[in-house]
Symmetry: C2
């Protein structure tokens, strides 16, 4: 298929073309970059919300509820769900996605599961590009749900306009979790499963830790996604961020563009490295084994 | 402290100096590189075994058993245990480490837990350097236990001389898990918890998948680390690999050196990028917002 034609039909919101375009991006085909450049002028309309937090806190259920809320407003919703089954962590969480998939037959919803895989940095790169495609295809709200298993989560939500971090009661005991990079990135903190004991304490913990590390005061909310409690307040908080975005707030917009540039550039650099290092590393390894170089010298040469 | 003095006392196997050296490496201090260069000639004696596999398969218990087996042979054992609590995955697995820590008072055992954190690539880099330190400090066998949560596991065990992949019965149903990069990297495959139904089927699955993807035939073994069954055969298999290593097998040695060079170089490159991109990305992001550049153009400029 002609790339220009594909760009046109993606921009017209044609679902099968969007699917094909996303596959090009996921496979990192050369054509994908051309396609994204052709679509660049069609982007900037969609509000991108990153949803992250430890596994088991109910991120998928919350995303499901947010899809419903935005569909009720007549808006188109795109979802990039990073597949927690990959690379080797097993398939335990897959069931949580089933509820979300009930939206898959809704023509105003586009859900794409993505596996984290391959060379580091590839996930944030492909997520950034899939978000651009969904944006160009006319999605008004794009939700990125991360797997909640590692540093890559932080990178992935770095490409969003705003970030919602999901916890549940009882996690406040494990200060490690709260300090692991999540207290600096949230605009909204949700204590989900708020009917479990300890929700209020969790709210207090988050307030003190998130307040300590950033000048702005993020919103902290108690929610029960499963029971539907606190959802109106959550949607309202997201809508306040989306309103800022729609008014053209350069703060929110620059954050996302900045994150995308950084992740795409990092991916370029790592791919260059992978391509060029393969042929050189064997010779360097032999020199290390022969005592002519230290491992660190060899690494310095390779990274030059 | 003088770096030369520190190198000397690490090389003499002084535990508190080894601890201090590891902290330098973990914090990525400039002094660490100098220290490692000073110690380069003392390395090459320790056999490095990577232990990976999905969470819950009993890697820590197996590592505990291997420590006992090698201590019984009078060998010194170093362990690098990548902390599965980090960055944001919660602390569920920490309890599994308690058994292993019973060795911590043994002067012939040195165990270091490491948190995966920060910029991508940092974990494999620091693991490679900690392994070099343990090697220089006279550890005969160095075990690297990964957290089993992602792509970083594959990178981390890439610095080992040989790799043991741990599964348990029932995982064969989830072919995803078996295909996620683990079938290409193992020298030994362990089906742990072999008293659970399905162990034989799991062995067959591994044999067919691991055999299909590599010319050599890796060893597949049923083990119950908890009950102590099959451990002698496992140690024997590891000893065959260690014997090859001791005979100077360039294949095993080059694999580890190659992995270390690649990970150290990648870490250098990412740190350079982090340092140099911060000052440039804001200007590029503004140009994207002003429609002068596409995000992809900006990324290409930043990665040049």
């Amino acid at each position: 298929v002609n790339t220009k034609q594909l760009a046109k039909s993606v921009a017209s919101g044609e679902r099968s073309s969007l699917a094909r375009a996303i596959t090009l991006v996921e496979n990192n085909e050369e054509e994908a970059v051309l396609l994204l450049d052709l679509l660049a002028k069609k982007t900037g309309g969609g509000f991108v919300l990153g949803v992250t937090g430890p596994p088991g806190t109910g991120k998928s259920t919350l995303v499901d509820r947010l899809i419903s809320a935005y569909r009720a407003k007549g808006l188109k919703v795109g979802v990039v769900a990073i597949d927690p089954t990959s690379p080797i962590s097993g398939g335990a969480l897959l069931g949580d996605r089933i509820r979300m998939m009930s939206h898959a037959t809704d023509q105003g919803v586009y859900i794409r599961s993505m596996a984290s895989r391959g060379w580091s940095g590839g996930l944030a790169r492909s997520t950034a590009q899939v978000v651009q495609l969904m944006d160009a295809a006319g999605m008004d709200v794009i939700l990125i749900e991360t797997a909640g298993i590692g540093q890559s989560d932080i990178e992935v939500v770095g490409i969003a306009h705003a970030v919602m971090v999901v916890f549940m009661p009882g996690m406040g005991d494990d200060i490690q979790v709260l300090k692991a990079g999540l207290m600096e990135i949230g605009d909204i903190y949700v204590v989900n499963k708020s009917d479990i004991e300890g929700a209020d304490l969790m709210v207090i913990n988050i307030m003190s830790l998130a307040g300590n590390t950033k000048s702005r005061a993020p919103v902290v909310l108690k929610v029960s996604a499963l029971k539907g409690e606190g959802l109106d307040g959550l949607v309202e908080s997201i809508e306040q961020l989306r309103a800022k975005f729609s008014e053209g707030s350069s703060g929110l917009r620059i954050r996302s563009v900045r994150g995308m540039i950084l992740e795409l550039a990092k991916s370029n650099i790592l791919e260059d490295f992978k391509r060029t290092s393969e042929s050189r590393v064997d010779k360097l390894a032999l020199e290390v084994l022969n005592g002519k170089l230290t491992v660190n010298d060899a690494a310095r040469r390779l990274s030059k």
